[in-house]
Symmetry: C2
Subunit: 305 residues, 2 copies
Amino acid sequence: MMIAFPEAVERLTAALGGGPSARLAASALIEADALGMPRFGIDLLGEWPADTAPVSKDVNPQATSWRDCSSCFAPLAVAAATLELCTAARRFGVAVVFLRGVRGFGRLAPFVRSLADGGLIGIAGTEGPPFVAAHGGTRPVIGTNPLALAMGQGAERVVIDLASSSGTMADVRSARAEGRPLKDGFALDGTGQPTRTAAEVAALLPRGGQVGSLLGLMVELIAGVAGGGRGDPKGRGVFLLAIDPGGAAEAVDIRNTLAGLQHDWVDGGGHWPRGGGLSAEATLDAAFVQRLDAHLVRMSAQRGG
Amino acid sequence: MMIAFPEAVERLTAALGGGPSARLAASALIEADALGMPRFGIDLLGEWPADTAPVSKDVNPQATSWRDCSSCFAPLAVAAATLELCTAARRFGVAVVFLRGVRGFGRLAPFVRSLADGGLIGIAGTEGPPFVAAHGGTRPVIGTNPLALAMGQGAERVVIDLASSSGTMADVRSARAEGRPLKDGFALDGTGQPTRTAAEVAALLPRGGQVGSLLGLMVELIAGVAGGGRGDPKGRGVFLLAIDPGGAAEAVDIRNTLAGLQHDWVDGGGHWPRGGGLSAEATLDAAFVQRLDAHLVRMSAQRGG
């Protein structure tokens, strides 16, 4: 039995307590499964405990805020922060929220896309445990540290989700499981030498050399240092930033400029990134439904429902 | 006759009308010369005309602002915007300014460093005429689009100035002048094929493939689309964003976390980027003094002084 994407979102939203944050978290997780990235999908519900502190609602969000999410279910905490950021950015013109102690919450793309849905430019980054070496370095010092940006709506929408490392430890584990060699330039062994053997990997390499290395460092500086995520054993550091371009008024025709850039980019042979949004007609397969049901049953039991 | 860096800054600051913006612009230009980047140095004074509109001072800067700089001397306009952004970020916690119509103003590093001097996280990017192809593309669609970030003070300060392209058209011109072949992966010819012949270059390539391409696209989206710089024949789009981490209060020990990241980064074999700041003991050579004098004489004559 397949299930339609909106119906799956409906069911999980209810199980997560309902409301806009639950809906955003549910659709982010289910979308990842639909895109073939179960690691970022509903398997993260395994972290959902009934006794999690409810995500505190900030009814009067500030332009900058810092929040410890270590006692919250991470996808809900990131979703709630995203929606509050949307309110704050509309009020102040620009706003940023720093989250720390964030456990697995999935992909950044659905959250920055939600900010774009709100008419904002959404930017986000996340740091994590050190798996990636600096360019020219020999030991892991930062996480895989992706940076994401979304803006626009409809056909010209853009959603960039840019990893700063050559890959992830999950890639290494699957290469190891399948006995595959790694690509060149992917990883270093414990002596700091390049290796293609998954079992020998001690550090991943930055993507594209120096450019990925400095991109990863930027994300570490914002999410890890300013946001306080670095070295926190309770979870990652995440930042979300939103800019309301409405203040440009008539000075800048943002929609047409975006459409023009998209045209030039695609016409010049580039790929316009959309961050994997799904249409409402998307469906998920029977294996997914089985996994979702198992989670919903367990969640209901934990709630004593 | 050599000249000490502070004395050169003093003289140019006076010629630019004095005050904090003139000082920041003067030191940014002179620093570029001292670092061996005359293209971003005092040669930009060739754009200085006595009848430039004075940079308007915004005595009450907002959290977001958009400004047309096409009638201003660009280094002064960027410097004034940087100092006003510093005030705005301290007031609001986070602030962003979008400049358009910006002619040559030099490097981003001195401006984001000035924000870091003010205790802020400074982030900036600039777009420009299309010289760079999208990853996988065949024609130039965006500029060389650097992204810069600075934070911290003293020994642990970090200043990243990250180009998103393999190089610049200036690199192509100098290779052509010297009859040198270009590096592999640097450029495409008019048919979209890789070329190492400078005279054949029709497009530069993004740095590190997809990662540089998407980084350049992010900068284009912020500075070019949201800021309105894209396609403006009067000059580039530039954005400057500043975050005041003071709101973190005791929750995050930013200074020690930054020092710890720096230690890990360097200890793991990475290079800690400092963005080429100069010590007060730096000196510039006689050839520089001659060029500076020529500019100062011309500027004085143009003012009718």
